[in-house]
């Protein structure tokens, strides 16, 4: 796997280790592709946020960059009308049930959603979808961090690190559809779960759902 390949992203020639996922190659070379659910350590990407679409020469439909291993001679374009439309819809859907109010948010200025909005010129107010405000109480039972589910975008990063990095198994997804959320066993407070307050999940949260107390 240590073979190097040369690929083209937006007319830039880039060398990268063969088999590395396109998303990470692009990000390492300062080419931004929106993403929320991807984690570099994760072998099998969940590809659930649907934000990292790109156009690849020879493939008719846009492809998710986080699942595409790079191969010699790959030609990629990060923007096209099709890609923009897909990303816009995915972003709007995410924003409709994400509690806004960036000024009061602990992730203000470090938030992935803000970054995507800035990079792609996407608005926080959607004309097509009605906002759906989640009404979840904030879990403040832990000393080091708080968990505000109404800001969660269900990317699944925290669940993955909880299971595979921290190996605790305190949080997971439960329920289905619009009610889906990250919970502990029995939806109890984090303080009543096996959580060890290692803080790994807080570090990977792309938005202000999990945040350290100052």
């Amino acid at each position: 796997m240590s073979d190097k390949v040369t690929i083209t992203i937006d007319d830039c020639k880039i060398t990268a280790p063969e088999g590395e996922k396109l998303l990470w190659v692009a990000l390492d070379n300062d080419i931004y592709i929106p993403n929320l659910c991807a984690l570099k350590e994760k072998d099998r990407p969940s590809a659930s946020c649907r934000l990292c679409f790109v156009e690849v020469k020879g493939i008719s439909d846009p492809v998710t960059a986080c699942t595409l291993p790079v191969t010699e001679g790959l030609v990629v374009k990060t923007r096209s009308p099709e890609v923009d439309r897909l990303v816009k819809t995915a972003f709007e859907l995410l924003i409709t049930d994400h509690r806004l109010g960036c000024k009061k948010c602990p992730a203000n200025n470090s938030c992935e959603l803000q970054k995507i909005s800035k990079e792609r010129g996407l608005k926080y107010k959607s004309k097509r979808f009605k906002p759906f405000e989640k009404d979840e109480p904030i879990d403040e039972s832990m000393e080091q961090f708080i968990f505000d589910r109404s800001r969660c975008v269900l990317c699944g990063r925290c669940v993955w690190v909880d299971h595979h990095v921290a190996e605790v198994g305190a949080i997971g997804f439960s329920l289905r559809g619009i009610k889906r959320k990250v919970t502990t066993f029995g939806d109890y407070d984090l303080a009543d779960s096996p959580c060890t307050e290692c803080g790994e999940c807080v570090k990977v949260c792309p938005v202000g759902a999990l945040s350290f107390n100052e």
Binding site: E140, S141, G169, A170, L175, T183, F185, G186, S193
Partner: protein, 217 residues
């Protein structure tokens, strides 16, 4: 709880403790998923049954859904200790089993009530206002769909089409179908439960008296 909070409040002038008291107050309004307390001896019974099922079946992760179905088949629902036990045996976090159990409609966390109310949410019932019927039940019973009243008398759930769309909106109570529902009829149905219960009680008493009378003579 509030009284106790106030007592604690007066005892502690310490600020940190104060925060704790406020937190306690908030905890009370959190709705829990495992709503009902287990009856006496129920936990032992549950664990016994679950161990039995775990002994006779493959305990691998791939087999998790069939296992949960079997447990529910015996107990009628998936109580907290059962889920914990299954997770421990398969050696996966309990929260993963919990996620699965809350994902599928078939699996339930609360016991079926004496009267199982199933509100139809199929296309026809949905269009004509099934939601209103469901909400009426929720308001009157003070539970939401998927839950059981604390006395285990009524459980409420939503189902897809039950096959009699002509009389929508429809509700099925213990296999008995009620059609063309209105919120007033919902009250009627609930009243009828009380009536049925009273009749049942009276019947039981009569029987007792009779058997006593039989012994006397």
């Amino acid at each position: 709880m509030l009284r106790r909070n106030i007592d604690v409040f007066e005892e502690c002038k310490n600020k940190a403790l104060l925060k704790f008291v406020i937190m306690l107050g908030e905890l009370n309004c959190v709705k829990e998923m495992f709503l009902l307390e287990l009856l006496e001896g129920e936990k032992e019974f549950i664990l016994e049954q679950v161990s039995e099922i775990l002994k006779n079946n493959r305990t691998e992760r791939e087999n998790l859904v069939p296992l949960l179905q079997k447990v529910q088949g015996v107990l009628g629902y998936l109580p907290e200790p059962a889920i914990e036990k299954i997770a421990k045996t398969i050696d996966i976090p309990a929260v993963d089993v919990f996620g699965l159990a809350t994902f599928y409609n078939q699996l339930r966390l609360n016991p079926p009530g004496k009267y199982q109310i199933k509100v139809c949410m199929g296309t026809a019932c949905h269009m004509i206002g099934g939601q209103i019927i469901l909400e009426s039940f929720e308001r009157r019973l003070d539970i939401v769909e998927g839950e059981t009243t604390p006395d285990r008398k009524c459980s409420l759930e939503r189902v897809a089409c039950v096959g009699c769309c002509a009389i929508a909106p429809v509700v099925v109570v213990n296999e008995f179908i009620e059609g063309s529902l209105t919120p007033t009829r919902v009250d009627g149905i609930l009243l009828q439960f009380d009536g049925d219960d009273q009749e049942e009680e009276a019947g039981e008493q009569e029987q007792e008296q009779e058997s006593e009378g039989g012994q006397d003579s």
